[in-house]
């Protein structure tokens, strides 16, 4: 297992990061409108000074190699939009917030999703199945920019239970996590239900029942593990999506996370900030994908012995 992880780190992570950096670097420069374009026109002299200051007057290949060198040194450069800050600092400040939000949302999605999936699969075609399918599907139908304000209206304005925005008290975590995680509840519930139905007809479930063990144990111990494999492979992208896709929720609830930086950086053409977030998100995503592969191997011994053979 350890060899597997190290192999992955050195032979896959580094090259793919390098590729991402390269593609992103040049693609960003292709987008029209530079970082200093503004509604009130800037004098050409000032523009020239700004370009010199940030090294944008150099040939693009030189900029590229300079940037690579800095990144290897761990320096992501100064933000163009926020001149007093550098990108590393901004990410370090904002990411923990997005991570926290993402983790809560994922936790909620996993618990509610698997729960709903179990409920639905316990009696396929029954009332519970339809109820939980309808509830979880409505999670997909209602985008976060609708769900967020709706929840705020209900719990924040009508009932006055929570703050309508902000990120200071513990209760400030609830509504954003719900709004963000809701979409994934449906996905996880459906994958769980599908996986369970698939598993419940396997011979080994009959064996387990023939042993006379309680039905709930059959479900959780015997069926769920196999049924969760598709869920687990979905969790990688889901986790990445939750952590990187929190822009809307962060805006609605005014949460100081990285998602806002990422999207506004793209619109501001804050080159260094975009590159910084791209690299950072890439690492996050690769991390989660590796985590998923490991989890899958932990769940499926057959896969594990394959990995061990390879390593």
């Amino acid at each position: 297992m350890i060899t597997f992880i190290t192999r992955r780190l050195f032979f896959q992570t580094v090259p793919s990061l390098f590729l991402i950096v390269t593609v992103a670097f040049f693609l960003i420069r292709l987008a029209p409108g530079g970082p200093f374009a503004s509604e009130k026109s800037i004098s050409p002299e000032v523009l020239k000074q700004l370009n010199t200051h940030y090294g944008l007057d150099k040939p693009i290949l030189v900029q590229y190699t300079d940037y690579l060198k800095n990144v290897v040194r761990g320096d992501l450069g100064p933000s163009f939009k926020y001149p007093g800050r550098n990108v590393t600092e901004l990410i370090a400040e904002a990411f923990p917030v997005s991570l926290e939000l993402g983790v809560y949302a994922l936790l909620f999605a996993i618990l509610a999703g698997i729960g709903a999936g179990l409920l639905a699969a316990s009696k396929p075609g029954g009332a519970r199945d339809y109820l939980s399918t309808i509830l979880s599907t409505s999670g997909i139908c209602i985008p976060s920019f609708v769900l967020g304000p709706l929840l705020v209206l209900l719990f924040g304005l009508k009932l006055g239970l929570v703050n309508v925005s902000g990120w200071s008290s513990a209760s400030d975590r609830i509504l954003p996590s719900l709004s963000l995680g809701m979409v994934y509840v449906a996905y996880i519930a459906r994958l769980t239900r599908g996986g369970l139905l698939e598993t419940m007809v396997q011979d080994y479930i009959r064996t387990a029942r023939a042993k006379g063990i309680p039905e709930s144990t059959v479900m959780i111990k015997h069926a769920l593990r196999g049924a969760l494999l598709p869920v687990v492979s979905f969790l990688g992208p889901a986790a990445a999506g939750l952590i990187t896709g929190s822009f809307v929720v962060e805006t609605i609830f005014s949460i100081p996370g990285l998602g806002r930086f990422f999207v506004t950086a793209a619109f501001n053409r804050d080159y260094t900030m975009i590159m910084g977030t791209v690299i950072f998100y890439a690492i996050v995503i690769i991390f989660f994908n590796t985590l998923v592969d490991i989890t899958q191997a932990l769940l499926d011994p057959r896969l594990r012995s394959k990995l061990n053979e390879k390593a």
């Binding site: 011979d203 009959r206 023939a210 042993k211 063990i213 196999g226 499926d300």
Partner: protein, 325 residues
Amino acid sequence: MVILDVRNISTTFKLRGTTLRAVNDVSFGLQKGETLGIVGESGSGKTVLCHSIMQLLPRPPADISGSALFGLQDLVSCSSKDIRNIRGNRISMVFQDPQAAFNPYLRICDQLIEPLLYHRRLSRRTAMDKVLSILEETGIPDPARRCRCYPHEFSGGMLQRAMIAMALITHPEILIADEPTTALDVTIQMQILQLLKSLQRQLSMSVIFITHNLGIVAGFCDRVLVMYAGQILESASGDDLFLHTAHPYTKALIRSVPSLHVNSGELYSIEGKPPDLTKEIKGCPFAPRCTYAQGECTEEDAAAGLVGVSHFTSCRRVLKGEISL
């Protein structure tokens, strides 16, 4: 002494408007210590019968009538809690394909230990000792190491041994073995059968042995039921079945066993297809394929009668003595 008294079991599946009669009015009794074979082609209802008795069929769509008295309890109608206390405890099962019947995601020991944990409420430690000793008994070398393996790391024969060990770990009164050797090599088959036999003697339990292989039945079973299209066509002691065959279907089955002794060039096979179970069957279900059949076989209700001591047949022509097989 009859420890399992099965009476008039009928199992139907209602599926989107069609009704499928998988088991049709089957009755039999299982003696203590007896080995009862149930023989028939695939789809004859043997497996469904056993699953019906053990409440392993989802209801609906399955609809089961009749009774199966085990002691004072009717297995067919008892509560799910009661049947759970019987399953894997007093009645155990062994399934056909061990690779599929073991949960691929759990260690062998974790699966073997379950009946003890749930029925005997033993601590993990003592239960584990029992698991190791029964694995030893079933002939698995180095059980302490092997039982920590996953099913895919076992060979088929080994797995089936483990499966038997799992079934017998609670010393059940009845073992239902559903084609336990079908998926295995011939040499392994024999080893498994011998294992079963010796363990049966040791534990003095009754065995219901489901198979489509008449060859196995011959040496292994005290009594044999021959099933076809969900019905019992003939029931006899192992010897009687071969020596005094009393149903054309049994006869055909025996003939279709490839034999080393007979050098006739071609293998025998029964012509035609089994009947469509979604349609009502009138008369003898085998009649359309039976070389002895006459008009009355399909026109009148099926017959039933004895041709010897506890030798039952449903063939009216045999009963009437019109044909001898």
